[in-house]
Symmetry: C2
Subunit: 440 residues, 2 copies
């Protein structure tokens, strides 16, 4: 079954993932610029221009719809609405893709479908939606009186939500807009379909207000590696964003996803598996380690607390030089967090037997972390790609924008020299650049 | 009571109102460009650049969250999400204000507050929210199974909605963001307030994800001239967008609004009354009339049908050369439309005794219409301003973008030469340019 074996796709995919002012909780203190610059157009413009200059496939924006106690200590990850930040970037760039995270639990499908379709038009066909169901409990309190739903309920809603959004995106056939100014024939009504959707969560008549974009419709990313997340991705998405901490686990995940995509009657070569990868760069390995140590020092206890949240255990249970309290992690039946993050950390704690301190060194905010030289980071990317573990990576930047500058100036040229990464865009749309169908 | 007498504000305010490809239903057929260009970044960029070159106060985007049968005949007015279109314009301009319409009936406050705060930051303090409650029945079916609520219910929700949004915008004190990278003091928690709002319609904990913008918070427009709309505007808004078809009615409306604002304990000189004004321009009056006739011909029956919708009567009741069927209009107890539009048309039908055809000539899609030369349009603006009927106008453009080109090239220079309109921006933010408080 060669199509399922994890055949490497010809083109390595690299996105720049933007989480606030950087993935590391200490990022804001190491930046050259003061914190408030992160809300400015210049900040987002700079990120877009850096990504495009390196021919990265996309800028990928995370989202967090709340500020809690933690965030009085540091910037939160979704201060600015990702769709608006990406529209700003759209105006400052021509080629780079624009992936916005948005929650199916805390929005409704008609408005969301129109916002993404709008970004897709305003960018000339470069938009993507990264579907999440939200695992941060504090978000729920900004959207009503109910607590965060359990994962199974979130995913049941997500399944219907994505179906409605894709149906809205497809409610105008490509040839529906006639636009004949002479005769006055604007749209062919028989080619514009109402949905008249009535489901468990939503009632949506449709059609959408917009015809298809230059890439047909926005690309769909899904972020979530639980059983339910994999199912949703295999059935509906073009790519999955996942946290994989070891080569073996990543290979198994990609094999599994390709198998599920094929079982859903879709082409696994047109489905992309993109784990996160956090690079902490230095001119030498010692310099990289010093940068990491400095960031950890600036962040205080934040990385350990984040790991506790991701594992669903009280932070007190995580002793830095003790093994992971695996029993406590597995004994939490009410876990509402992201299963993928939990599994990724367990992989290190169980299979590799690492201590909490060692896990925190390998697991950068949930994702695999490489602390080293540009060569070492390029080696890691090339190795995982060659071994069929990935179609590419979402590059999680430790500190923004300078961590991105280092990546595009030091790592990307190495990959290009090795013939692993392109030096020009392959097409006009994100869909074309990712090697997906030009039309859905 | 001189503050209530309608003293003209020193600065005439002019916004460019953008409704799809123009206010006139025939606009899309008269445009030089094909219809699909209206979804492109170039279209919005051009509008922003034209408005800014003329020192207009703001680009004002309408919104309609549905496509119905009508819209297979012509573009709808809210195809592209206004907030995203304005973010694109923000990136292409430096001074012009950015007013997006958004409905309190078909959105929720946390996401909306964050989107407007995001636009406000990404534009350097140029954002405004035009509050509407939506009177188009078809919109409801895209957001659930319930029909469009009655006006009183819509406004009860709007009152709470606006309060929550403004509280979110004010949840970070101006000095809350410390941002001391050296000490690690990011935000002063005592200066960031949770709302813990629990109301009839919403439960929202807060705070917002963003600190105040360069203008503090987005400016608030309110569009709606019913009793409930006036009350909401007087209590919460910085400006009201209204349809006034006669000088006398406009004067009375402004007097009433200023009185209500004062009664709410606010400064009426810092509250702006901005009716719409649709200019159909020609080098001579005959040319203007010919342009209007051509547009009407291209639009078919659309203007009459729109008037019927605005009056809440079947289109068959509107005979072009008969008087307005006033009894039928007033006998509709279930009217769900915009009371301001209904009153504006009744003003012409009752007080001035016009036929339907005459009303359609004076009432451009609900707003006062001037078909004439640039001098005649400038005269109308100057006259209403001098007579204390307005603080300025939302200029409704018949055809976009060329109707806006004509306005800024032919009408604005006349007003500048007469000393009525500025030729440079007064401040860095929209709030400053409108002569409002620099901070709320």
């Amino acid at each position: 079954m060669s199509t399922l074996r994890g055949r490497a796709s010809p083109d390595l995919i690299l996105n720049a993932a933007v989480l606030g002012v950087g993935m590391h909780p200490g990022a804001w203190r190491l930046r050259r610029e003061p914190p408030a610059t992160a809300f400015t157009p210049a900040y987002f413009r700079r990120i877009g221009e850096l990504a495009e200059a390196a021919c990265l496939h996309a800028v990928f924006l995370a989202d967090t719809l709340s500020v809690d106690e933690e965030n009085y200590e540091r910037p939160n990850l979704g201060a600015v609405d990702p769709l608006l930040a990406l529209t700003l970037i759209a105006g400052a760039t021509e080629h780079v893709g624009l992936v916005a995270t948005a929650s199916t639990t805390f929005s409704e499908p008609f408005g969301l479908a129109r916002r993404f379709a709008s970004l897709d038009h305003l960018s000339g066909g470069r938009a993507a939606w990264n579907v999440v169901t939200t695992f941060v409990p504090a978000v729920a309190a900004n959207f009503g009186s109910a607590p965060l739903p359990a994962p199974a309920d979130r995913y049941r809603r997500a399944e219907e939500f994505v179906d409605v959004v894709q149906a809205l995106w497809r409610s105008w056939q490509a040839d529906a807009l006639i636009g004949d100014q002479e005769s006055g024939h604007y749209a062919e009504a028989t080619r514009v379909k109402r949905l008249n959707h009535h489901g468990e969560f939503f009632d949506v008549a449709g059609p959408l207000t917009l015809p298809p974009s230059p890439q047909g419709e926005p690309v769909l990313f899904q972020a979530g590696s639980s059983e339910a997340g994999r199912g949703l991705a295999a059935r509906t998405a073009d790519a999955v964003f996942t946290a994989q901490n070891t080569l073996v686990a990543a290979q198994a995940f990609r094999r599994d996803m390709r198998s599920r995509v094929a079982a859903a009657g879709r082409d696994p070569d047109r489905f992309k598996v993109l784990p996160g990868l956090l690079a902490v760069l230095g001119g030498t390995e010692a310099e990289a380690r010093a940068r990491k140590a400095r960031l950890d020092e600036l962040a205080g206890d934040a990385e350990r607390r984040k790991l506790a949240l991701r594992l669903g255990v009280p932070v007190e249970l995580l002793q830095l030089d003790a093994p992971l309290p695996v029993d406590a992690v597995l004994a939490n039946p009410a876990f509402k967090g992201a299963e993928g993050f939990r599994q990724a950390a367990l992989e290190l704690g169980v299979r590799e037997g690492l201590t909490v301190r060692e896990i925190l060194y390998r697991n950068g905010g949930g994702h695999v972390q490489v602390v080293g030289t540009p060569e070492q980071v390029a080696d890691h990317i090339a190795h995982w790609h060659r071994e069929g573990a990935v179609d590419g990576f979402n590059l999680m930047i430790d500190v923004l924008p300078d961590g991105l500058e280092d990546l595009v100036e030091q790592v990307v040229p190495l990959l290009q020299r090795r013939g692993l990464f392109r030096d020009e865009y392959a097409g006009r749309t994100l869909r074309a650049n990712l090697g997906l169908h030009s039309q859905p």
